[in-house]
Amino acid sequence: MAKNTSVVVETVVPLSTQQAQTLKAMLKKSFGTESYTTELNPEILGGVRVRVGSTVYDASLRGKLEQLRTS
């Protein structure tokens, strides 16, 4: 399957410049790319959710609540 490495970052409020810098550094280190698109998504309640290609890294409040519900 062709690896596509487009990065989408979902947050509730826009990231601050410093947060964006940190995120870029992390993306560069892990996936070798700095470019990403941002999406504002109030449904995740808080935190951040990053989608790289077809893999989702979920550090959102909603994700944690879901974990609580299923554990």
Binding site: M1, G53, S54, V56, K64, Q67, L68, S71
Partner: protein, 501 residues
Amino acid sequence: MTDFLSEIKKQLAGAKLETTKQSVGTITNFGDGIATISGLDDVMLGELVLVGKDTFALALNLKKDNVGVVLLTENRDIRAGDTVQTTGRLLSIGVSDDIVGRVVDPLGRALDGKAPIAVKTYQPLEKVAPGVITRKMVTVPLQTGIKAIDAMIPVGRGQRELIIGDRGTGKSSIGLGTILNQRGQNVICVYVAIGQKRSYVAQTVALFEKTGSMDYTVVVAATASDSATSQFLAPYAGVAIAEYFLKQGKDVLVIYDDLSKHAVAYREISLLLRRPSGREAYPGDVFYLHSRLLERACRLDEKYGGGSITALPIIETQASDVSAFIPTNVISITDGQIYLETDLFNSGVKPAINVGLSVSRVGSAAQLKTMKQVAGKMRLDLAQYRELAAFAQFSSDLDAKTKAQLDRGARVSTILNQDWDKPMPVEDQVAVIYAATNGYLDSVSLEKTRMWEELATMYLKADEPAILKSIKAEGKIIEDTEKALQKALTTFNDIHSELHL
């Protein structure tokens, strides 16, 4: 109150909340219970995936840039663009000892309106069959209670015996009769109904309940109105339940009714998934579909826990064509077949077994010695009789020897007739067949043969229980028993002179 609060606090503190990594995809195409998904890079073949919030699907096609999944439950709210995520789980069914006596669907959900099945463990639907080392020869008989089968086409525990024939020849009846006969035999039965009418399933369950057979039976039902996916999964769910009891060292009997409809359901799924079609439009792996299922029938060595799974798959032929694709496949996988014929059925032979074409490749090693003693030559004799009977129709005057052979044959084949829902204990079978093959019925008129059989078994049970007990216990007919049986049969014939010509 404080207890409650501290309990909640403790629970919350104990919960692991981590950043999760998950493979996701989006639906690009959806219809007929099949969805095509882009993304989902890490999906495994046969993995359970979550579509939307609560619909599960099974990944069946992994291609270069998309994944084909089949939905396990009906959901009309699915749209293209919906998110799909992997679960890391393979399809499995929740089982426990409580499942006995229940009617479930292939995902283990109760269909009988009673409480959900308590789950002890999950059994995978797809599992590699037990290896060569763990297996053992088939040596213990599985009594079907049907004279013609137990005498001539014996089935052993751990065997795969195909029941094949046209529609309406009594295929299911043989399977159901066998289940009825397993009471007190220490066998768990699993009846898998694939693509059957719901009314038929209800009727079957009612029969099991009436006869008390439900105490040791599980019914797995994917009826004609259920999805093709459900029908495709039903036999695997059945054998998964059987494997749960196998693990406890128990003997299990599984009846797949029927695998023709199973193949048709799989063909539907395969065509919708756009897999290339082959002969009769079945996909290329339709042989493997059945072989991997039937290979899971086994008899395990005691070192590996013992126990067995006996499989009685049923195949429906069209116009007696056993050389069609699916029948030949399943014939070659199984350890023999019971071949039922419309002509025999219509001429009143019930069960309508064609003795010449039916075989059991491993069962004779498992047949009781007593039965082998009395029925050893019956198969050949009966085949000779049928040939002679066909020939004799053309000639009017027959010599005495031929006539005697015909008379004997007619009585033996009448004795093999039996109502499907009246299984017979093996010791009664031995006594009756002994009488028929040794000429004790020669003087009985043909119309009264069935009545003779009924009265004689009643007589033996009431007046000579020692003989039957000895036949069952000894494993073979010892000389004393044979003499006692001869005497008893002569006495019986004297008492009931009204049955004679």
